[in-house]
Symmetry: D2
Subunit: 279 residues, 4 copies
């Protein structure tokens, strides 16, 4: 059991009446519980919270008139590890997968598994089925990509990354997901916080469906699996944008952090939108 | 109220043990009821039926040993028209849309609304909001694409089609969907049968979310809206493949038909997989 | 007859032995003569000048050891206008074009005329053949693109731009060229200087082959045609990079200017590489 | 010295007045001489022959009124092998390459070396420079692609092929060329005939510039290097189409052959356009 303090401070310049769909709050899952949390808006706003999709994602919708908007989120989250995380875990067959899992075999906007099918089979098709095969995909992605901030943008896809061999966490995750789907393993994108991530930012990682449940993987190796805090899951980053905004609005400042609860809070400043954001 | 007989005969050469996910049966919706239906397999097989997603799609899963497999579907369906189908219907605001509708604003594998954003705004941004704006998108797509069987394949996207200006029903639908999402109108792909479609085949068309409900559109103009029979809906064709098959299997013959119930059944033969199929 | 002073100051941080292929000097053509010029390197270097291709491009090759390298170019150029620039000029037939012109009908890296063929015909195929048709292509490109620095990069192509509807001079030129080739008009890319360009930078524009000769067009409308000074021509920007560098080297500063000779020199500073550069 | 009989019979249905640019005749180079040849047209036509580019390509231009056109080419060609074809041959430095060779370092329509740069360096950057490095690229391409007729089309590029891992001779050549350029080795596309090619067809292969001259490579391994007969060279297949046709014309039949001179002629029929043709 690991207790983690996560938080984010987002400041927006809202220049026309805008609707925000925010996904920045920690999810509640079998392996993650929210001990306490606080989401505040300055100026104060009426907020609508709802859950979308089959992954328990929480989304907050606000309607904002022109102003400087500050969004603050603070939470303490308890993480319990996936117990049977080992090479003993086997793959599931398509004939047995629950219907809501099958969706994550389909190609999606940034994970064109249909294009990468042959590559995935050629490279990973003959490996022993199971947990280790997903690990092998993650290792391949980690080994063959260079982590290069600025080398990709919000429209970069797994196929792009397979050719250009550079990217950020979002791109690592997309390529891993596309390759898993290509060899018949359901995989999905997780947006979240990550303990000890340097530089601190929102993070994007992967869940793969093995042995009847979802397991976390992080092909970037930038943070320990045990310190990954989920905000939400989706087919790819298109589903879990930090902020989807309708209106003329700019992110002007952002701080993000995730620390083990005992730690002193180590926040950093960034003027850049996070890798997983469409802000 | 229109009563329609739909059906399909699919023959597969199954060369290794294969799992099929079939989406060929008529859905039940507020505007469509299944009066009677029969789905048969030769050889006989145990079939698992389940529903996926938020659109009420039915899927049938079968596991098949090597054989020649014949799948036959027959149904009588009653269609009741969308009553307020008119230019009076307005668009919904993002601030009011139900959470499960918001998903259909996201870009998807074959509908890269993120790439087409500026084009969509430039071309349709200044038109009066409402039903007529979706109609204008459909008209534009119909006018600027050439319906050319064989000009696209299973990996062709809306952006590809916007450049090359040719496609089939699937491509018409994808471009329409991407453009609607680009101007903030939720849109999704519908796979189905279509009365009087020439040549008879499965069909792909569009639903757009307006005034709090989903409305059907067919940018190909190949069949009357009132004769569209739904199999299922999804973000794009990736979600509603006629058959997703794991294993070494080939479609060897296909007949598809949809006739108003009084009609004599007019089936045709085709050796080609249908436009919306991944068979 | 217009007399123009052009120049550029480029500063590079050379960190490993590097070979530069520079294309920054004014060309000599039927409509352009170099009255005087000076190309200097600090530190001094042995320079190899040669001409490549059929457009009379001059290229300078230097081999540089680690240092801070300053390249300075100053020239006075006389421009004589294309005399019969009018709607009277007709298109040439493929059956009559000189062999070296036919090359400019082929698709190239950034001008995928093969992809845009149908679009080009649909939009411009029925217009009256001749000078006015190229002008119509330029007008279309100018009208439908937004000039947005930073919206594209060195790998952006005409097809990308047709979808995303933004770009810089290089992208405007590529799309214009691809569309001209698509309707059977040879077209090529010109890198150069442009009088009164704001902000001052290298410029990219277009030549189209009409009535047996090449005519200049600038779809950006950012500078008068009569003030365009040629450095070199090619199939697209891939052929006329300002600097192609083998080795570990960075452009650290750049000034570019082009003024009518009477003017006081109005140079500006920029830390950014120019749109047409691979530096 | 090898003596080879090559030939092709092309039949076109010309439905509107059309201009053909044909590239089907054997070239004359240091390693290839044309002993005898005959190019005939039925009906008889006036033919214009000219050479284009720096590779000595011959092109034939004809203007044809509506008819059924038969083009027949027969030639006896003597091939002398590249003498120093060995691992002793070194790479040339950019600082020493002749200007007309530098062009073949640029990315081109179907060989996007700019996109594949990092991949090329990662995979081949640390290998010993020289002939063996090009051979290693060819081996990689041969090993990682599946030769699959119909898996690609006339717009497929090297980057596409790197992702999808299938193609035909044209695609093998494009990927090899792009990877060579990516590691700084000039490379170009050769269209030609190939002794013992099965099934007989036009062929596409590669020349790489090493040790001051051009060397042939064939990543498909479908024919011996010593039996490759050149028609022409270009940056990629865009430059050496078998037939570029302006007008409403269809290829209706094609025979192609290349046999060592002693052999009995083994022609075959094909209704399909050849891989390197735009017919």
């Amino acid at each position: 059991m690991l207790r983690v303090d996560v938080g984010s401070d987002l400041v927006y310049e809202v220049r026309s009446p805008s609707t925000f769909l925010l996904q920045i709050t920690a999810a509640t899952t079998a392996h993650q519980s929210v001990v306490s949390e606080k989401l505040t808006f300055d100026p104060e706003l009426s907020v609508e919270q709802y859950c979308v999709g089959d992954g328990g994602n929480r989304m907050h919708r606000i309607v904002v008139d022109p102003c400087q908007l500050t969004v603050k989120y603070r939470a303490t989250v308890e993480l319990s590890p996936e117990v049977d995380r080992s090479t003993e875990v086997n793959e599931s067959n398509v004939s047995e997968m629950p219907p809501d899992v099958l969706t994550y075999l389909n190609p999606s906007r940034y994970c064109e598994s249909d294009l990468l099918l042959r590559f995935a089979f050629e490279e990973f098709g003959s490996l022993e089925r199971g947990f280790g095969r997903v690990q092998a995909v993650c290792d391949w992605v980690n080994h063959h990509l260079d982590y290069t901030p600025g080398s990709t943008n919000a429209t970069t896809t797994a196929a792009d990354v397979l050719v250009q061999r550079t990217g950020v966490c979002r791109d690592y995750a997309h390529l891993t997901i596309a390759l898993c789907r290509g060899i018949g393993i359901p995989a999905r994108y997780v947006a979240g916080y990550a303990v000890d991530l340097q530089p601190p930012d929102f993070h994007g990682f992967v869940e793969a469906y093995l042995g009847g449940q979802w397991y976390l993987f992080d092909p970037t190796r930038l943070a320990p699996i045990s310190g990954l805090v989920r905000i939400g899951v989706g087919r790819d980053a298109a589903d879990v944008s930090i902020a989807t905004i309708t209106g003329n609005t700019n992110l002007t400042s952002q701080k993000v952090w995730a620390n083990t609860a005992a730690d002193v809070q180590k926040a950093t400043n960034s003027e850049q939108p996070p890798a997983v954001s469409t802000a």
